[in-house]
Symmetry: C2
Subunit: 252 residues, 2 copies
Amino acid sequence: MSQTVDRALSILPLLAEGPADLGQVADRLGVHKSTALRLLRTLHEHGLVYRQSDQRYRLGARLFALAQEAMENLDIREIAHPHLTRLNDSCGHTVHLAVYEEGEVLYIDKVDSRYPVRMYSRIGKPVAITVAAVAKLLLADLPEAERRAVAEKLDYPAYTPRSTPNAPAFLTELEKVREQGWATDLGGHEESINCVAAPIRGADGRVVAAMSVSAPNVVVSADELLTLLPLVRRTADTISGEYSGRNPVTAQ
Amino acid sequence: MSQTVDRALSILPLLAEGPADLGQVADRLGVHKSTALRLLRTLHEHGLVYRQSDQRYRLGARLFALAQEAMENLDIREIAHPHLTRLNDSCGHTVHLAVYEEGEVLYIDKVDSRYPVRMYSRIGKPVAITVAAVAKLLLADLPEAERRAVAEKLDYPAYTPRSTPNAPAFLTELEKVREQGWATDLGGHEESINCVAAPIRGADGRVVAAMSVSAPNVVVSADELLTLLPLVRRTADTISGEYSGRNPVTAQ
DNA sequence: CAGCTACGTTGCGTGTACTGCAACACTCAT
DNA sequence: ATGAGTGTTGCAGTACACGCAACGTAGCTG
């Protein structure tokens, strides 16, 4: 690995915490000011950092544009989106699409026609991985070894009394999810929110993404939400079929 | 600036166009494969690129998280948001918030309660800078020299017959906008869409952001939309006041 | 206003760490 | 099997990134 690049890239998460001046950056990197300056200049030239009027540095605009383009290029999202909106039309609840990447699960799409939700507050943000229904599906499909490794490394925050408490409980839950081919989150993240989720598979049967429908208790009970399961699974299967290049699938 | 970092960062926009394999990256950088490999590995370690199952590289998840955090740290957005939603409540149209940064104008917030718009398709995306009302306001406030320099460098795509045709036309338009303290886009980007916009100023009077209300012709005529101008300007002024720390924030 | 400190910036010699080469390992087609 | 196409590794030479020290410029303080 390249030392110089490594140092330069370490600046980004540092600036993500908030603006910093040259001295602070140099200190936290453990390098001389002149070195930090050169790195910052290079980052600046690529638009990844921006120098605000008080001369301090913060993350730059190009970052948005890149994240943007990266998102647009995810073909799963492209394919899934119309199906997600259609599902949303017919049930009215929030629909999420998520993928797994290197120990993290992220939402890559969301449809919610009812409320003016600030979408970017979730898209791209790591999911509550130990409780979210989509996370369970994505992790359940990992190879045994990796699954256990990831499960061991995670924190298990007790969002609610129903949150997954620890790694063993999580692993047995994943096993169950794996068997049944779908997952739920019943008040595990927020007391009053329930979700049902189904996997989207590639041509080789591996899970490439997962989608879920979420609704608060006050609108529909958990049991009522579960009646949507067949519809969710059918939608996921349709997307799977289209993603694999097969003709729209009628299986359920 | 640093050559190594420069090369590494050049990989990012390259991958933004779509996934690429090692050879392609090396070619487009004009370096040896082993060099490209080392750079990619470093980027990978920082989560900025991801290696998909077919071994090709694409942009990684950390990018979203970073863009995310950068966004959250923009205090203008924080302050403006409740005012934007309130404006949206009272008029029902789409409301945008945008800032200028290094030759680009970007939307950093958007409220649209009516339709299930895919918000992220605009947030963070560079604005049609030659025609958008918010862009005119932001550019109009630049120092003479910079304004001209930017105007000269721009492309002037003819989105519609009413699009700004060239740099001189743009500069006179900016002059007008500067004088009157507000701006419009009447079908300059999309034939049937009109916008009115107002500037948000910092304590020193400089324009730090701009906000706009947009609506299609079929809903309200351009004249009708213009009747909203006082409301838009009042909202912008309120935000300006709060941003400058003048008016202490009152409980909502 | 002089003197101070704190900060960003510049030029330069030294030596590190980045580069490109060449050889290797591997997967697919033919 | 054999070949062409990948990605990967170790190594020697040298470009280039590093830290130093000196300078420029603010912003305080007496």
